[in-house]
C-alpha cells in the first residue's frame, strides 16, 4: 500500500511540475508578445504545449524501458488474466441480459408465454450452471466436494427456517415473478424434508471440525450420506 501511495504522490509531483513548466512558459510567451492574443501567438503556445508533452512522454518512454520491475514479470503479475473466469463472467452477464431481453419481449408481445417460459427457463438453467462453475473456480478442486456439502446444508437450513415460518403464516403465491421459472425446487423440498432434519443434525458436528485435516474431512463428508441411507432404509 505504501508503494501505491508513493507512486500516486510521484504521479502528482510529475503532473504538477509539468503544469508549472507549461504555465511559466505560456506566461513568458505572452509577456514577450505583450499579451496581445493573435493567431500566431495561439499557435506558438500550442507548439510549446506540444514540446513540453513531447519531452515528458519521451522521457517516460525511456524511463519505462529501463525501469527495474519490483514485481515478477511472470504470469501471476501480468495484468489481470481473464481466462476461464472471465469467459464465465461474460457468459453469466450474457444470460442475465438474455433473460431480461426475453422478459421485455414477452411484455412487448413479441414472445408468447410458452416461448418466453421455455427461453427464460433455458437461460436460467445455463446461468445457474455457470454460477456453479464460477464457484468451483473460486474454491479450487480441493474444497469442491466438502464445500458443496456445506452449501447444501446451509440451503437446507434456510429452507427449513422458511418452512417453519410458513407453518405460522402461509406463503403467498408468486405469479409472474421470474423465480417461478425454477419450479423444480418445490418438488425437491417436499420430497427431502424428512431427511433434511436428520442430515442437518448429522452435519452440524462436521461444521465444528472445519479445521480438520483433509483425510478427516473426507471421512466426515461420508457421514451424511450414510445417515441418509440409514434413514431411507
Amino acid at each position: 500500500m505504501a508503494t501505491g501511495s508513493d507512486d500516486k504522490t510521484m504521479r502528482w509531483v510529475r503532473l504538477g511540475s509539468l503544469g508549472f513548466v507549461l504555465v511559466v512558459g505560456w506566461v513568458f510567451i505572452g509577456w514577450q508578445n505583450s499579451f496581445h492574443i493573435t493567431p500566431p501567438l495561439v499557435f506558438v503556445m500550442l507548439g510549446y504545449l506540444a514540446v513540453v508533452l513531447t519531452t515528458y512522454n519521451l522521457w517516460r518512454t525511456g524511463a519505462s524501458a529501463v525501469a527495474q520491475n519490483e514485481e515478477d514479470d511472470g504470469d501471476a503479475s501480468w495484468g489481470k488474466p481473464t481466462g476461464a473466469r472471465g469467459e464465465l463472467d461474460r457468459e453469466k452477464r450474457t444470460m442475465l441480459k438474455a433473460i431480461k431481453e426475453a422478459e421485455f419481449d414477452l411484455q412487448m408481445g413479441k414472445l408468447s408465454q410458452a416461448d418466453a417460459h421455455q427461453m427464460i427457463g433455458m437461460y436460467r438453467a445455463r446461468a445457474i450452471e455457470v454460477m456453479k462453475e464460477l464457484e468451483q473456480l473460486d474454491l479450487g478442486a480441493a474444497g469442491t466436494v466438502r464445500e458443496r456439502n456445506m452449501r447444501e446444508v446451509k440451503a437446507r437450513v434456510a429452507i427449513e427456517g422458511r418452512m417453519v415460518k410458513d407453518k405460522a403464516a402461509p406463503r403467498t403465491i408468486v405469479d409472474d415473478d421470474a423465480a417461478s421459472y425454477g419450479s423444480g425446487a418445490a418438488d425437491a423440498d417436499d420430497v427431502k424434508t424428512p431427511m433434511m432434519t436428520e442430515a442437518a443434525d448429522d452435519v452440524m458436528p462436521l461444521a465444528a471440525t472445519e479445521a480438520a485435516t483433509p483425510e478427516a474431512s473426507a471421512i466426515e463428508e461420508s457421514k451424511p450420506t450414510d445417515k441418509l441411507q440409514e434413514a431411507s432404509s
Binding site: G47, T54, R60, L96, E101, F104, G109, R124, K132, A185
Partner: protein
Amino acid sequence: MTESAPFSPIAVVGTLALLAAYLTGAWCIAAGIAGNARKSRRLVSSSVYGLYGFGALIGLSAALLIYGFVTHDFAIKYVAATSETTMSTWYKVTAFWGGLDGSLLFWVFVLALFSTVAIAVNHRRHKDMIGFVVATIMVVQVFFLSLLIFTKNPFTTFLTQAPTEGQGLNPLLQNYWMVIHPPSLYTGFVAATIPFAFGIGALASGRLDDMWLSSVRVWMLICFFFLSFGLILGGRWAYEELGWGGYWAWDPVENAGLMPWFTATAFLHSAIIQEQRGQMKVWNLVLVTLTFFLTIFGTFMTRSGAVQSVHAFGEDNILALQFIVFMAVILIVSIGLIVYRSSKLTTLGTFESFFSREFAFLVNNWILLACAFFVLFATMFPTISEALDGSRVSVGPEFFNRWMTPLGVILLFLAGAAPLLAWRKTTTQRLVNQFLFPSAGTALSIIVLAFAMPQTLHLTPIFADRLKLPVSLFVLATIIFVGLSIGQEFWRGMMVRRRQTGSDPFTSLLGLMLSKRRKYGGYIIHLGVAVLFLGFVGKAYEQQTDKTIAQPAIVRDEAASTRVPKQQALAQSTLPAGLENQSFKFGEYVFVYQRLIVTSDDHKDATTAEVGIYLDGEKLSTVYPAKWDYHRGGEQATTEVAITVRLSEDVYVVLTGYEQDSGLANFRVFINPLISWVWIGFCILALGVFVCLLPASLATYVSARPPRTRLGRAADTGLVMALVIGATLAIASQAHAAPPASAAPAEHLPAGGMGMGASGVGYAAQNRPTNGAAESAEKDLLCPCNCSHRTIFECDCGNAAELRGKINAMIAKLDTSTPEKAKVAYDSVLADFIATYGGEQVLANPRSSFPWLIPMLAAFGAAGLLFFVGRRWITRGRAAPMMTASHITSIADEDLADKLDDELRDTD
C-alpha cells in the same frame, strides 16, 4: 551574385519533428510487440508512453505548419501553394488539409489524437494485448509518416527565391462546409483504425473473448457517426457550391467514404449477434479488417490517380505503389492471423427460424456488404476496363441508382421489420401481432398515395432496363412502414416501462431510452435513415430550366452615375405588373430579375444578380445568385448559388452567365422537392448516435435520484430531452451560404461578361433540347471538356452548348414521331459520338452488357448462398439438442436461483 536558398526555421523544426516521430513510432512497434510477446510490463509501458510522445511530436508538426500559414512563411512550398496573405484566418488554418501533403499530415494528427485517447482509456483493461494494439496503430502511423518524410513533406522549402505572395486556396474550398467536411470525414476514416488495431491485438494475443468487442464497438460507432457526418457535409458542400442542383453524384471520392460506412454499419449489427449468441466471431473480425482496409483503399483512390474525380488530388504513381504494398500487407497479416486463430474462433452457426432477429441481422449484413462491393466494383470499373481493353468506360449515376435503389429499399424495410422480430424465433401469431399495425398503415398509405399523388406511380427501371417498378411509391410506403414500426416499438416499450415504474409517459420514455440506450438509440438512427430516404425520393421529381433575361428591372445609368429604377414597386411584397420581360414563370413560382450588382474586394470580383421569387402573387424571398472571380483562384470563377429553403422543396437559382454592360443574365433554376429532409434525416441520425453513446453513469445518476412528484419527474424528463434535441438542432442550424456583399458601388467594372456566347446568350441556355430524344441523348453523353464530369445536358460550358446544337441538328433530320423512331434517332446520335470520340468513354453509363452482368450474377449468387446457408443453420439449430430448463437437482441450486433473481433485479 548567387541567391541563397530561403531559410525557414519552421520548416527545419517541423521536418525534425517528423523524423523524431518516425523513430519514436519505430520504437513503439518494436517495444509493443516484444513487450506483449515476452510479457514484459516495462516494454509495454514504454510503448504506451512512446505513443503519447509520438502524438505530441505530430501535434508540434501540425502547430508549426499552421504557424507557417498564419505568418505567411512562403518559403515553405506548401504554404505558398495553398495560402495567400489576404485570406481570412479560418481559411489559412483549413489550408492545412487543403492540399495532398497537408492532408496526409492531418490524417496522422487525427489518428494520433484518437489513439492517445483510446490507449489511455483501455491500456489497463487490456494489458495483455495493448502492446500489440499500440504496435498496429504505429505501423499505420509509420506508413503515413514515411510518405510524408520521403515523398510528400509539407515542410519542403523553395530552393531559390521564395515568392512574396502565395497562390491561395482553391476557391471551391473557401466555403464554410469545406472547413468542417474534410476533418469530419478524416475523423471517420481514422476512427476505423482503432477497432482494427484492437482486432489485430486480440488475434495476436489469442485473447478472443468478447472483451475486445466491447472496447471497439464504441469506436466503430464513432467511426460510423463521423463518416455519416462527413458524407452529409460533403453533400451539403456540393449542393451549395458546385451549382448543379444536386448533392450526390456517385463520384469516386464520395464512394470512398461510403464503402467503409456500409461495412461499419454491418459490424455494428453483427456485433450484437456475437454479444447475444456468441456467433459470427470470424465475421466480425473480417468486418473490422474490411472497414479499415476500405478507408486505406479510399485514401489510395483519391491520391493515386486510379480514378478520375473533381475531388481527387491528382495522379502519383509512386504514391499508388506505396499504397498498394501497404494494402497487401494489411490483407496478408489480417487474414493470416484469422486463419492462425481459426480454431479459437469457430462457432457452430445455428439459427432457429427465418423469422428471427438473428436472421434479419444476417440478411442486413449481406446486403450492406453487397452495397459496399457493388460501389467498389462500379467505382473501379473505368480503371478495370481501361486495364483490360484500353478504353475507359464511364459509369454514371444511372448505373449506381439502378442497383443501389432496390438494395436501399430492402435495407430500409429491414430497418423497420427487424425490431419487430424476437430473438431465436417469432411465432406466426406473434408475427401477426407485431406486423399488423405497421402493415395496415402502410397498405392504407399506398392507396392514399396512389390516388392523391399519381406521380408516385411513375415506373423507374431497376436492375435492368426491362424491369420497371413504381419505385417512388415503394420507397414512400417503406418509409411509412419504418415510421409506424419504430413508433410502435416506442409506444409499447413506454407502456411496459410505465407499468413497471408507475411513471408518467415522458419519464417512462426517458427511462426506457436510458436503460436500453443501444436499442432505442438504434431505433432513432433507423428513423433518421428513413427520413433521409424521404429526401432521396424527392430527387426523382426535380425540375430544371434555363432562362435568359435581356435586361433587369433596375438598370444602371452610366451617364448619370445613378440607378434609375424602371419600376417603383419592386420593394413591395406582391408581384408587380408590367415586368413580363424581366420575369419568367417556372413551376408555381415567378422569378423577377431585379438588377445586376458588381462588387470587388481584395480577394475577388463578384457579379451578383438580385432576383425576387414570388409564389401566388406574394413575395417569397429575394435571392442573390452570383459568380465570384478570385484574383488568385485560377481561371474558372466559382458559382454562388442562391437557395430558398422550404420543407416541401428548395428553389435553387444559379447565375450561369451575364453581360455587365447590358445587364443580360442567364439563369438556371432547379426545383428540388423534399431535399431538406436529407439534412433533417441526418440530424435525427445524429440524435440516435448521441443516445447510443450516453454513458452508463449518466443513466445510473438519473435513475438513482430520489422520487419526486410526477410533475417534477416530467419536468426533469422534458429538460433532458430539450437539451439533447437542442444540441442536435444546433448542429442543423449551423451556417448557410454566406450572404452576398452589400450592393456598394463597384470599384471597377471588368469588361465583358461571363459564361456568354457570341450571341449574347449564356452557354447554359444555348441550344436546349427540343424534344425527348435529344434530351435523352444529351443526358447520356458526357461533356468532353471534363469539367466536373457532367453530361452535355447539365454542363454550362461553351463546348456543351456547341454539342447540344450538333445533337439538335442531327435529331432534326430524323423522324421521331413514334417512340420506336425516337429510339432509333437516339441510338444513331450515340453511335456518332462513340465513333467521333473513339470509344464508349464518352457515354455517361456503360452500354455493354459486361458491367451490368457482373452485379446481376453476384446478386443472384449471393441471394442463393444466403438462403442455402440460412437454411443449413436453421436445420442445424433445430436438430441441436435443446437446452432444456433442467429441474433443480439439489437444494443448493435453489440458493443459486435466489442469487440469480437478486442479480436480475439489479440488471436493467
